[in-house]
Amino acid sequence: MLNPYMPYPVCIDEIITETEDRNLKTFKFVFLNPGDEDKFSYRAGQFAELSVTGKGEIPIGIASSPTEKGFVKFTVNKVGLVSSYLHSMKVGDIMGIRGPLGNSYPWDTLEGKNVVIIGGGFAFTTLRSSIIFMLDPANRKKFKNINVIYGARTPGMLLYRDELAAWEKRDDINMHITVDAVNDPDWKYNVGFVPAITEKKAPNADADTYAIICGPPVMIKFTQPVLDKLGYGHDHIIMSLENRMKCGIGMCGRCNIGKEFVCKDGPVFTLAQLNATPREY
């Protein structure tokens, strides 16, 4: 019997400090056992339990894309026990990864469609995975227009800044980067909160256009009315939830919203699905 609680052993290969407040770091892991990388075959939008031996496990969205080979990446905010300890670890340290877990963004549905990505703060991790995945030469033709609205408090709080700059230069993806406020006179991009920029830049709704939205609760709260105004149906608005988790496989009982387990039936749901469940997230 396969033990779904047993993590794959990994080694930290690289640590990148992402933000100016140093609270977000990206960890690049390589699998210790050849073969485990194939077993850890994932889709954009899934997550994994990062197992810090002696401290515990935390559910973290997979930030690398299935099209990137040889490693997996996660971007972790420093919050409590496990994430703070992880921030103090160094290249070469051994830990574990358990997964991939959860569903993913609905790639079958999204094929042939316009995709609007709306992200705020550090909830951009699985959105990065999705963008890299869609921009892969083998995949780009499977999607129509790609729009990305991504905001942070300040330029220094944006994740993956080099990649954002590179995507800005491409003509097969429309980037709308924004910050709440900026002192830098050379700032070339938008200034304003994500909901306001969404209202200005997001394409109007149609049957072939899906919005994926990930961010802090206040951003989601104010962006949803904007999408409603633009005519997005609730089955065309896709969200990813972050309930507290332990097992990640629908057994320990804590992450449910109604009869759905966020860890196993989610974390990705359409707003239409969420409307039918208790809002316990």
């Binding site: 994430s83 574990g96 496989i249 320990c252 009982g253």
Partner: protein
């Protein structure tokens, strides 16, 4: 179906023989209550009981269980890599489990044995266990098993059903696993042809003594969001002190936590029973808590048992009617009353504004 007659004079001897090939568990009397315990060599289960205070779920699913071991010492070749903890899945048997409690394992199995994932600890422990039931000739006043998918002589989940017949027990053989256990005990005398009828008659009599019931027929058709927003949760949860007694005693509550425990340079990853009654169960690292209030937690317990489970598995409620939570709740919260409120809830008929 085969029925074996066990003379009570052969009881202790048989149990002694079983213990050479099985680890035995049974009800044992403590200061004031019976509870299921591992029986020492020569120790007998005390069948002079209504039911135990805590359910026998720990026979399969211990309150605390080590899953993995690890070394944090960088001098060790495999430091920081989890290793399976040593486990004993040799045969075990629980003697004197009540039929409702045996049925509970079938409900819990739906959680741990799924098409996508198998919980190896629960499943292997469950498979190693032989369930020897003890029919309830005299149910208690808080039992409502007959309307909760079970019954005082219910056989589901059992390998053998023992029925007290004065100076002997009838042992109804339900599975080959059960037959093996009876053979190991040396209990082989078949009862006379009238035994099955006698068992049926006793069962009928016991069933008629069950004085309380729940109605569950409407639960499936209720809208989740309407039940969730029903005004009665305020009243239901008002007195609850979130002690967690109900979930701890319940045979069908399975929630758990996972923790790493270190001592020096080594440690274990273990799991422990947890409870939806505790705020820490769902609190996020940021401090946000989707079930931060007592009302939300009490509602979760009842909605899980009586609505989410019903919808998820289409196989009845997540409760076998053992009545433990009713008997032990310090503030008399009664699942029978809540179940009836949910089952008969009509949002349109309710005069109070939905919250």
């Amino acid at each position: 179906m085969k029925v074996i007659k066990i003379d009570k004079n052969d009881w202790a001897g048989g149990i002694g023989k079983i213990q050479s090939s099985y680890r035995l568990y049974g009800p044992v009397k403590g200061d004031a209550f019976h509870d299921f315990k591992a029986l020492e060599k020569g120790e007998l289960p005390d069948l002079n009981f209504f039911n135990t205070r805590v359910s026998p779920k720990s026979v399969v699913y211990p309150q605390s269980e080590v899953m993995f071991e690890y070394s944090l010492d960088e001098k060790d070749a495999e430091h920081h890599i989890l290793k399976d903890a040593a486990k004993d899945y040799s045969p075990k048997a629980v003697l004197g489990i009540r039929p409702c409690d045996a049925a509970s394992f079938l409900l819990v199995k739906r959680n741990f044995d799924t098409p996508e994932y198998k919980d190896p600890y629960w499943i292997r422990s469950y498979e190693a266990t032989t369930f020897v039931g003890y029919a309830c000739n005299n149910p208690c006043s808080t039992c409502f098993c007959t309307t909760a998918g079970s019954g005082p002589f219910n056989e589901e989940g059992l390998d053998v059903l023992l029925v007290d017949e004065g100076d002997c027990y009838y042992a109804k053989v339900i599975t080959s696993k059960g037959e093996n256990l009876l053979n190991a005990a040396g209990w082989k005398t078949e009862a006379d042809g009238g035994a099955p009828d006698k068992i049926a008659a006793l069962g009928k009599e016991a069933g008629s003594k069950i004085g309380s019931s729940v109605a569950t027929d409407q639960l499936k058709d209720k809208k989740t969001t309407e039940l969730y927003e029903a005004p009665f949760w305020e009243d239901v949860s008002f007195a609850c002190i979130n002690c967690g007694t109900c979930t701890y005693l319940c045979p069908t509550c399975w929630c758990f936590d996972i923790q790493d425990e270190n001592s020096g340079c080594s440690g274990v990853r273990m799991r422990n029973w947890d409870s939806c009654m505790f705020p820490l169960f769902t609190i996020h690292g940021t401090g946000h808590n989707p079930r931060g209030t007592k009302l939300q937690r009490v509602r979760q317990r009842f909605m899980h048992k009586l609505k989410y489970y019903v919808d998820k598995y289409d196989n009845g409620i997540q409760c076998v009617g053992c009545g433990r939570c009713i008997r032990s709740c310090p503030v008399n919260i009664d699942i029978r009353r809540v179940c009836d409120m949910m089952n008969s809830y009509d949002p349109k008929a309710c005069a109070c504004p939905a919250k």
